[in-house]
């Protein structure tokens, strides 16, 4: 078979010399290697005292964003559920009643929205699929519970609170926004009035 790389070594079964058969030089060499590790800097992070900084684009617990006025962005289109490879997302849609304009941005909204965090693989496809910039993965971590049903997150957990919105500046960098504006990939519509583009290219 043709070698794909030049890294592979041919195994040689030649007779060992007397020095090699004594093994002691080899043992000594091995012990020197382990001893050199004794003084190396340890990469351990002592967790509760020190915390490793998450990457800005870490994919952790989801958030359902509100718009600038505090209305929920999600329109329960179901694209995230379709995109989800783990089938972790379910939702029930409902129609907005008059007087609820400050609660929901568009005429249709998600009455129920659940993500099963035990199924979720945190791939971020839901974020990619969302045409309304409603669902994002954040750098928060999913908590630990004793029961499986606690891992099914409803809207009470997922929707961000009006008072303390989740900051997505780290993942919504200008280059990401630029990328989303690109015609070929611009299936997401940004609701930035100045940069209104047509939401095309997706199916």
């Amino acid at each position: 078979m043709q070698a794909l790389t030049n890294r592979s070594k041919v195994v040689s079964k030649k007779e060992m010399t007397f020095m090699e058969r004594m093994y002691l030089p080899a043992i000594f060499g091995g012990m020197m290697i382990t001893f050199s590790h004794f003084f190396r800097r340890k990469p351990t992070i002592k967790y509760p005292e020190q915390k490793r900084e998450f990457s800005g684009i870490y994919r952790g617990q989801h958030v359902l964003k509100r718009d600038e006025k505090g209305a929920e962005r999600c329109t329960a289109c179901g694209l995230c559920a379709v995109a989800c490879p783990a089938e972790a997302i379910t939702m029930v849609s409902a129609e907005r009643k008059p007087g609820e304009e400050n609660l929901y941005r568009e005429e249709k909204y998600a009455a129920k929205y659940e993500i099963n965090m035990l199924r979720c693989i945190f791939c971020g496809d839901c974020e990619e699929a969302c045409p309304k910039e409603a669902i994002f993965l954040t750098d928060r971590q999913v908590s630990v519970y004793g029961q499986r049903k606690s891992f099914i997150y409803g809207k009470d957990v997922l929707v961000e609170s009006k008072d303390s919105p989740i900051d997505l500046a780290k993942r919504q960098t200008p280059s990401v926004k630029e990328f989303k504006l690109h015609k070929e990939f611009g299936h997401n519509q940004t609701y930035d009035k100045n940069k209104k583009v047509n939401a095309g290219g997706h199916h």
Partner: protein, 349 residues
């Protein structure tokens, strides 16, 4: 010395040696985990106390508090006897080791050795040869195939390596001319360390010490990859603790014996030039001995976390085909060197 003073002094010395043995063994468990961690680029236990210094205490509490299981089909008395024997034989060996020179207080001599048997080396050897019973009985009484295999492995391994160990000691006894540990230590003053006279014997002895203490790369009796836990598979709680602890005591005693036999014991070169007070020298001697012991304990651990375990046939090959012939060769060379005058005379005649 007055008899009552003698008895009280010896009792204190026995207690001190016992306590120090246990203390060193306790902190060897901590050292083992720390050294393993450092050799593997980790930090190791650091939660219990500063730098994890109270970790052995936490381990002991854990061992005592755990549920005790005795398999219903096993022989209960022998099951308990196994770890007790292992612990007993491990603790017995500290008796003949000279921990330092004698102290002189009010013209009375206080020896820092519990007892100087004129067969000290043989005593040590007989206690070591008893050590295998704990493992064998424990392994058999567990009524478990893995335990039994571990026990059988332990017995055949220890018998095989005892032979080479004994033969390497014989060469040492030939050069020192005594079986008393005190004499052997005293002869190595200054630079007259036995390792310089008996380098091959020293190497064989150290290798056999690894095998006798069941330390890696000779830890086949408790080989996890093949035998689950070896002879202590069925053990839990403090009985398991005893087996594990006995290993560390054995390691401490082995380090002490290696230091005393081959590396000068409590002697340190050049110290006698600056310090002339005998009591000061005796106390410094104890310190030097413990420095040497610490080095050998570190060496035991260093080897464990470097070398992989032997295969069983390799172990037997090494013992019977390499170490025993080498140690016999060592005896022959030593004998020829000691009789060189007569041999030269024989050929020049």
């Amino acid at each position: 010395m007055v008899f009552s003073t003698y008895i009280i002094y010896k009792a204190i010395l026995v207690l001190a040696v016992f306590a120090i043995t246990l203390l060193v063994a306790t902190y060897s468990t901590y050292a083992e985990r720390k050294i393993a961690a450092f050799l593997q680029d980790r930090i190791g236990p650091d939660r219990a106390g500063p730098f994890g210094i109270l970790q052995p205490l936490a381990d002991a509490v854990k061992m005592f508090m755990k549920e005790e299981m005795i398999p219903s089909v096993s022989n209960k008395w022998l099951f308990i006897l196994g770890p007790s024997l292992a612990m007993l034989t491990a603790c017995l060996t500290g008796v003949v080791i000279p921990w330092g020179k004698s102290l002189f207080i009010d013209g009375q001599e206080f020896s820092l050795q519990i007892t100087d048997l004129n067969i000290g080396v043989l005593y040590l050897f007989s206690v070591v040869s008893m050590g295998v019973y704990g493992i064998m009985i424990g392994g058999w009484a567990s009524n478990n195939k893995y335990s039994l295999l571990g026990g059988i492995r332990a017995s055949s391994q220890m018998i095989s390596y005892e032979v080479a160990m004994g033969l390497s000691i014989i060469a040492l006894v030939m050069t020192t001319g005594t079986l008393s540990m005190k004499e052997i230590a005293a002869q190595q003053h200054g630079w007259h360390w036995n390792v310089l006279i008996q380098p091959l014997g020293c190497l064989i002895f150290i290798i056999c010490a690894f095998a006798e203490t069941n330390r890696a790369p000779f830890d086949l009796p408790e080989c996890e990859t093949e035998l689950v836990g070896g002879y202590h598979t069925e053990y839990s709680s403090m009985k398991l603790g005893f087996f594990l602890f006995a290993e560390y005591i054995n390691m401490f005693i082995s380090s002490a014996v290696i230091s005393t036999f081959y590396f000068g014991g409590y002697n340190m070169p050049f110290v006698g030039r600056w310090i002339h007070d005998p009591n000061m020298l005796a106390i410094l001697g104890v310190v030097f001995l413990f420095v040497k012991i610490s080095f050998f304990i570190f060496f035991f651990m260093w080897v464990r976390w470097t070398l992989p375990r032997f295969r069983y046939d390799q172990l037997m090959n090494l013992g019977w085909k390499i170490l025993i012939p080498l140690s016999i060769l060592n005896i022959v060379i030593t004998g020829a060197w000691m009789m060189r005058g007569e041999i030269i005379q024989l050929f020049t005649k």
